[in-house]
């Protein structure tokens, strides 16, 4: 892992990048996986003493309409206003849309940012922008792909407990493939749950010891593997071996302990609580995320939607919004009741918002000029609104917030030094936040 000391950052073995480059051929010849392995090895002790915080993301794939949820415009003309009325919340002076009653009740714990802005209106590059902080690749723009926030956090902090993957997506990663690790190394890709936690037969395969395999035999297998798995790793430049190494170690620990299995066992939650979260994919995913974070996961990403409501937005929101609101609101409430809210950031965002004015098909189109995200917990102060959009929506009227600012806020709260850099596959150090600054009004 790269640790950061003032201006010049140091490599795991104490070398600065300059020193590293000056060493010449033998070290320059290290392959990426070899480097990753060294870094992973060096990172182990640091992880134990790292921050105790985690992150749960609700990713609103396709773009959630800010003007029907977090940024109501009740005084605007009808085609801007939309179909929902605003409702008051537990935080005085803050209103949200009427399909967000559960979050409204928890608004003292929740913060809204209404002035997020970036400069693209296409799903893939915009998703890349919000998930990684950088404008993404398009046909016209030959930009390299960057690692997602989940992978950056997994790489920087690791899992809180070795039996649990650091970074998990439910049910799986979004379609553009921008929730991955890219040059951070394949072992920092998310573990995909691959199933709907609300399904009656929900199960993650291979978490239970098969019949006839005792814990003792498993331990002896583990010890022997360590002895024999000695093939030179620098023979593989693809990252495949390094990734599989990490996963093998993780799988052995996972299976040896009960932690992973029990974390995925939603039946251990009282039925009443499961009902409170909502018997819906979003609600049960939120509950599962809480269990995974409790067990030691660092980042759980719940993919929701599709929210790309170009046509008949009322129909789409009626279907998706109440369960999402319930999932987020109940999660905040539940974390708070358990005394976990200071240690878990809850974050709801998508690639952009939707046009302030309804289009001819009773829908709203893509809008990145000014849109909203929601944050709670992990030291984020609730009951606050940062920034404002213009009178009828449109542009940012006050306090422009960039995707990099959001990342800086989250990384900072999780205890990741903001001057951390990771080398891309061409060997260039790349900042994890670029020019992003934490949103101090939230802290």
């Amino acid at each position: 892992m790269l640790t950061v000391t003032g201006e010049s950052f140091r490599h795991c073995d104490g070398l600065t990048r300059r020193g590293f480059l000056q060493l010449g051929a033998p070290l320059l010849g290290l392959t990426l996986p070899e480097l990753l392995q060294r870094e992973a090895a060096a990172a182990e002790p640091a992880r134990a003493s790292g921050s105790g915080k985690s992150l749960i993301v609700f990713w609103t794939d396709g773009g959630l309409s800010q003007q029907d949820t977090y940024d109501m415009k009740p005084d605007s003309p009808a085609d801007f206003r939309g179909m929902y009325r605003p409702i008051s919340t537990a935080a005085s002076g803050i209103q949200v849309g009427e399909r967000c009653p559960v979050q409204a009740r928890m608004m003292n714990k929740i913060a809204l940012v209404r002035s997020v802005h970036h400069e693209n209106g296409i799903h893939a590059p915009s998703a890349h922008w919000v998930l990684t902080g950088a404008f993404g690749p398009t046909l016209a723009r030959n930009a390299a792909q960057k690692p997602s926030l989940g992978s950056v956090i997994a790489r920087s902090l690791g899992s809180r407990r070795p039996q649990i993957p650091a970074y998990i997506t439910i049910p799986k990663s979004e379609a553009f493939g921008y929730q991955g690790a890219v040059y951070l190394g394949k072992s920092y890709n998310p573990f995909e749950v691959g199933a709907d936690p609300n399904a009656p037969n929900f199960e993650v395969p291979n978490l239970t010891l098969p019949k006839g395999l005792s814990t003792r035999e498993l331990e002896s297998r583990q010890a022997l593997l360590k002895r024999f798995d000695t093939l030179r790793r620098d023979i593989d430049a693809s990252g495949g071996m390094a990734g599989l190494d990490t996963f093998k170690a993780q799988a052995l620990e996972m299976v040896a302990g009960d932690r992973m299995r029990s974390a995925f066992d939603l039946s251990r939650e009282p039925a009443a609580l499961r009902d409170r979260f909502g018997r819906h994919r979003y609600g049960q995913s939120a509950l599962l995320a809480r269990r995974l974070v409790e067990a030691g996961a660092r980042v759980v990403n719940i993919n929701t939607g599709n929210w790309d409501h170009h046509n008949d937005i009322a129909k789409g929101l009626e279907e998706h919004l109440p369960p999402l609101d319930r999932a987020i609101g109940t999660l905040v409430e539940d974390l708070s009741e358990r005394g976990m809210l200071d240690d878990v950031i809850v974050y709801c965002a998508g690639e952009f918002g939707r046009t302030p004015r309804m289009n001819g098909n009773a829908g709203r189109d893509h809008w990145s000029e000014a849109f909203s995200v929601m944050l709670a917990g992990g030291g984020i102060q609730g009951g606050r609104v940062v920034g404002a959009s213009e009178k009828n929506g449109g542009g940012v009227a006050d306090r422009l917030v960039t995707p990099q600012d959001l990342l800086a806020t989250i990384y900072g709260q999780l205890g990741i030094p903001l001057n951390t850099h990771y080398n891309d596959s061409a060997g260039r150090p790349v900042s994890i936040v670029g020019t992003g600054q934490p949103i101090h009004e939230l802290l």
Binding site: L139, R141, S214, R227, D234, S238, M241, A251, G395, A426
Partner: protein, 767 residues
């Protein structure tokens, strides 16, 4: 070699700050660069064209700014009522959209700076696409000038771009440095203009060298070959760069000495001499050769998808003849596993898909086709005939199993794309809706190709599912394809080939097959050769293997040419090609890098390891533990002992195969087979009921060896041979003996030993 080019390279090296190059090293590198430095294009003289035109001045701005990209106004439906042709390939339509549509409000002739087009693009009025243009930028000024000078429409008399020139066309790059490209457009009126800041760029190896929007190429620490494409309008040109591996004069000397010692051997081989030439160019020396044991394991997996048995290993080691490797290769090629393993590969490429065809009558189709493929491979059917029989198939699946290809591939676009990708190594998907952004293919190419299949007729048996059962494929008397934009009826024409004769009674598919398999076809033999090279050497000479473009050239063109010529000369003899590949020097190198070739992923200076594919890996477990996998599917169960590589289609439930990347056979792309590592794979190895069953079966090897009366050292040796194909080192033997002697339960002791070897990367990878 051109002396002036030498001087260019020379001055570049001298100006580099990376290191002080001595003339000695320079000479070493430059003498080796004939093919790399192809020479810059000759300068084209001519007056600079000054008149502002839509096609040359405005459309490129829309492209560079992403306005006409596929996610924005360039998509078929446009964006918010404003539609542009994708990447500006249709200037006439774009002009109409900008100037005429929407009541003409997109431009303002009286106050050009207040044109909605510019106000939107700069974000002065709300714009969902952000602010792609900044006021005052070159692009902004170009559009402004055009409007101010009367927004003249494109006309047939306007100069067009006849070609684009990148300078330099090739060159050496220094690691951690940058180099500016210069791009010029040569116009139809003879003029030449600098379009460096108007072109669009793309690097085929962004990790090695990236390129920014203005043509500045930047290298990092990686070394190897890179191609940068510059596109202006429909024209494309490329820059070929190389970042050599040698870093100091001493290294260059050492590499050159080493290569000199290999020269007599490698120069004598029609394949190896091209590798040697590239190693010289790149200043890289190959790893050491592999020993017999490693070679046998490698070649057994690569030809038969099967691990060598301990008996085979012993026999191979005992064989003292100098040509034993080639004789064993001959033997492997005659084994049924060769046909099964390559049959699996072809069934993926030919999309022999079971899912969706599960009625009892349909089900037989995939089995018939996969048998047909296997028999063709076993009999070494010439590859030209293999492809022709599939493409021209008629009849029912029972009479002619290749018709099953037509069961999966059913429509115009599917014919075009599957044939182009599987047999021609071309991804032509883009050209269905627009001109290919990185190749010469147009919609006319696409639909001309589709017209070849216009007369494919289908007669159903009885339709008891979405897809009729026992469909019969025949050739209709007529049938045509229209160009989607012009509406013109397309004449059948293969990609880059001549139109087929009109109104002939002959099946156009037969003409396609003849064109494709003729000796001069530029795609057919090369694609197969490249596919097989990738299979055996771990990466295509063109990579990805089915994405051949001028902008994605082979890493070693002379080698690909030589192999292709030889393949044609052999009358498309696939087994002979395999013999050549596994007999090459590169195939017989160790995967461990030496001090010069670490980081090499393009020049084959070492063997590139890969994880065993899903089916091969599962079979290797079954073989090592002597417990076959039980496959259910179709009616009942497959016969006991059926191997994963023998399954007729992908529609056989097996979690192991899915988590290790078995493809769904939805496309003709081998890339559908995933090889990325995942936690789910590790969990399958560590904890699946299937692996545990194989370890504990009463008839299995684990129990048998634990009860075997021989002494532990002998048994441990056999276990290592069986799993890893080699004997244990002294340390490994000691560790194993300590383990089996300490473990009171003998069965458990050998189970653990076996499992821990099966979970090593040494077992999981072919290396």
């Amino acid at each position: 070699m051109n002396r002036s080019i030498n001087r260019v390279a020379c001055s570049r090296w001298k100006s580099s700050s990376e290191m002080q190059m001595t003339t000695g090293l320079l000479r070493t590198l430059l003498m080796a660069l004939p093919a790399l430095l192809l020479g810059s294009q000759p300068a084209v003289a001519g007056p600079e064209s000054s008149r502002v035109t839509f096609g040359l001045d405005v459309a490129p701005v829309l492209t560079r700014s992403g306005c006409n990209s596929g996610g924005c106004h360039g998509k078929a439906a446009g964006q918010n009522g404003f539609r542009l042709s994708l990447l500006g390939f249709e200037p006439g339509d774009d002009y109409a959209a900008i100037v005429r549509e929407s009541g003409g409000r997109r431009i303002s002739r009286t106050d050009p700076a207040r044109s909605l087009l510019l106000l939107k693009a700069t974000g002065a009025v709300p714009h969902g696409g952000g602010r792609p243009l900044s006021p005052g930028s070159e692009g902004y000024r170009a559009v402004l000038n055009w409007i101010a000078s009367g927004a003249v429409p494109p006309s047939p008399g306007d100069p067009t771009v006849t070609r684009v020139v990148v300078e330099p066309a090739s060159g050496l790059l220094v690691a951690n440095s940058s180099r500016q490209l210069k791009v010029s457009a040569v116009l139809s009126n003879g003029a030449r203009r600098d379009v460096t800041r108007a072109a669009v760029y793309q690097s085929n190896e962004p990790d090695l060298a990236s390129v920014d929007a203005n043509g500045l190429v930047r290298t990092g620490v990686k070394r190897g070959l890179v191609t940068v494409m510059a596109r202006f309008g429909e024209q494309i040109a490329t820059f070929h760069g190389a970042v050599p591996f040698t870093r100091t004069p001493a290294q260059a000397e050492a590499v050159s000495r080493r290569l000199a010692s290999l020269t007599p051997r490698l120069d004598a081989s029609p394949v190896d001499r091209h590798l040697l030439r590239q190693w010289r160019q790149m200043g890289v020396a190959p790893s050491d050769p592999v020993d017999d044991v490693a070679y046998l394991r490698r070649v057994s997996f690569d030809i038969c998808g099967t691990a060598p048995t301990p008996a085979e290993i012993d026999a191979f080691l005992a064989d003292r003849s100098p040509d034993k490797r080639s004789r064993w290769v001959d033997r492997l090629l005659e084994r049924p596993e060769y046909a099964a393993y390559f049959g699996l590969k072809w069934a993926d490429i030919l999309q022999n898909r079971g899912a969706g065809y599960s009625t009892s009558k349909q089900r037989a189709g995939t089995a018939l086709f996969s048998n047909w493929i296997r028999q063709a491979l076993a009999a070494n059917m010439p590859y030209d005939r293999f492809a022709s029989e599939i493409l021209t198939a008629t009849g029912s699946q029972a009479e002619n199993p290749p018709t099953v290809w037509y069961r999966t591939v059913r429509k115009g676009p599917e014919y075009v794309e599957s044939v182009a990708q599987a047999f021609l190594g071309v991804r032509i998907q883009c050209a269905q809706c627009h001109h290919h952004p990185a190749e010469r293919w147009s919609q006319s190419d696409y639909y001309g190709f589709a017209a070849i299949f216009a007369r494919v007729g289908r007669k159903g048996g009885f339709a008891d599912a979405e897809v009729p059962t026992e469909e019969v494929i025949y050739v209709k008397d007529g049938g045509s394809v229209q160009h989607p934009r012009t509406g013109a009826t397309m004449h059948p024409r293969p990609l880059g080939g001549p139109e087929f004769g009109e109104a002939t009674l002959e099946d156009p598919r037969a003409q396609l097959a003849r064109w494709m398999t003729s000796e001069s076809n530029p795609f057919f033999a090369r694609t197969l050769v490249n596919r097989m090279w990738a299979h055996f050497l771990g990466r295509g000479l063109v990579d990805p293997i089915d994405d051949s473009r001028s902008t994605n050239p082979p890493s070693n063109p002379e080698l690909l040419d030589a192999l292709s010529r030889e393949f044609v000369r052999s009358k498309f003899d696939v087994k002979q090609l395999i013999r050549t590949l596994v007999g090459s020097y590169a195939y017989q190198l160790q995967s461990a890098p030496n001090e010069w070739n670490a980081g090499d992923t393009q020049t084959f200076a070492r063997f590139y390891p890969r994880r065993l594919s899903a089916e091969v890996l599962l079979d290797a477990f079954s073989q090592a533990l002597e417990v076959p996998t039980e496959f259910t599917g179709g009616p009942g169960r497959f016969p006991a002992g059926t191997r994963a590589i023998e399954l007729p289609d992908e529609n056989v439930p097996a979690t192991f195969l899915d988590v290790f990347g078995r493809p769904a056979r939805r496309t003709a792309c081998e890339c559908e087979r995933a090889d990325a590592p995942a936690l789910a794979q590790a969990l399958e190895l560590v904890n699946s009921a299937e692996i545990q069953r194989k370890l504990t079966a009463p008839t299995g090897y684990a129990l048998r060896i634990s009860k075997d009366p021989r002494a532990h050292p002998e048994k441990v040796r056999e276990v290592f041979l069986k799993v890893l194909g080699r004997t244990p080192s002294a340390d490994e033997l000691a560790a194993s003996l300590e383990h089996v002697r300490q473990e009171p339960d003998g069965a458990s002791a050998y189970r653990s030993l076996l499992w821990s070897l099966l979970a090593t990367n040494e077992f999981l990878f072919n290396h």
